[in-house]
Amino acid sequence: MSMPKGFKSKTGYATASATYNGMGYREIAEEMTKQGFKMNHSTARNVFLSSMKKIAKEVCIVHGEEISSHDMYRIVADPRFQSGICEILSEM
């Protein structure tokens, strides 16, 4: 997924190492390829964001919010959202 033209993040970009002890997309792609899921870093990112979208969509339903796909992308890419999901998943 290419960045929307003129897009400028107000909240910074989510980085795996800065926000949590996770891997970068290239590292993920390498690890997944080793495990038999052949992919490059772009695919890793697309799959990650797609998964996050699924979660975000359900969260929006719970809160009774209707979000456009553009706004959904902003939410999913927001480091605060990713950090929050990471925190909840870590506690599970």
């Binding site: 795996a16 949590y20 996770g22 997944m32 799959v47 979660i55 339903i61």
Partner: protein
């Protein structure tokens, strides 16, 4: 606590002891050096009036004069034990400093319910005096660093002393605000920064359920990527924990709506 009558009686009793001449002071001091207990008692008794006089200067309404006199007498006894007649000073000149020190320390230690070390109070005095002088000279208050340099201490010590305010008045946490007994007390309005907001806790629990439901719907590939990206334990190993029934999920969503 002594009654006023007892205090008057004490004053009368003290008045019966004659003041000492310089020669008598020297003579008694020499005897005290040799271990004469009666000479020591006489020296103390003859100067009790001085102790009372200094104690009265430190007395404030609401305070306890008996306690001040007692501390004053302790200071007097220290002075008697340490007086060196060879230096040629009058005993009262020497004793005054010991008595003042004893009474002022007692006053400082008992000026508030919260015990603040005397050196902190002393530092506070110095800060106040220096700030006043600095302000008069330069027309502005000195910074903590300047105060620290002038007083030979650290800026953090200055800041701590200022924040502590050893002479601040204590207030009860149960005292009603505004004096009305039916009004709220101080403890009712102090926020608990560590308290958990129930609303956000419930909200978080609901979102947690939703995420569990979503996780159970993700493919193995998506799940692995999420796990690697977030650096969390193997979700597939704990996949049973994420599974909730469709009915449970519907109930959660309906509950929120």
């Amino acid at each position: 606590m002594a009654t006023p009558g007892m205090l008057d009686s004490y004053f009368k009793q003290v008045g019966n002891y004659n003041l000492l001449s310089r020669e008598q002071e020297v003579e008694l001091s020499q005897k005290i050096e040799k271990g004469d207990r009666s000479a020591r008692d006489m020296m103390v008794n003859s100067n009790l009036r001085l102790a009372i006089s200094i104690a009265k200067k430190y007395y404030r309404p609401g305070g306890n004069l008996e306690d001040l006199i007692q501390e004053s007498n302790i200071g007097l006894m220290k002075a008697v034990d340490r007086f060196d007649w060879r230096r040629g000073f009058k005993f009262s000149t020497y004793a005054t400093w010991w008595i003042r020190q004893s009474v002022s320390r007692f006053s400082m230690m008992n000026s508030s319910l919260v015990k603040v070390p005397s050196h902190t109070k002393s530092l506070y005095f110095k800060i106040s005096r220096l700030t006043k002088e600095y302000n008069e000279e330069f027309g502005e208050n000195p910074t903590d660093t300047e105060l620290a340099d002038l007083l030979g201490t650290t800026p953090s010590a200055i800041k701590t002393c200022k924040d502590t305010n050893p002479f601040g008045k204590e207030i009860s946490i149960d005292a009603p605000i505004g004096g009305d007994s039916d009004s709220r007390s101080l403890k009712d309005v102090i926020p608990d920064d560590n308290a958990t907001d129930i609303g956000s806790l419930i909200d978080r629990e609901k979102i947690s359920h939703v995420i569990r439901k979503c996780m159970s719907k993700l493919s193995a590939r998506e799940e692995k990527i999420l796990r690697l990206r977030f650096g969390i334990s193997d979700i597939s190993e704990n996949s049973d924990q994420f599974k909730i029934s469709n009915e449970e999920f519907e109930l959660i969503v309906k509950g929120v709506e």
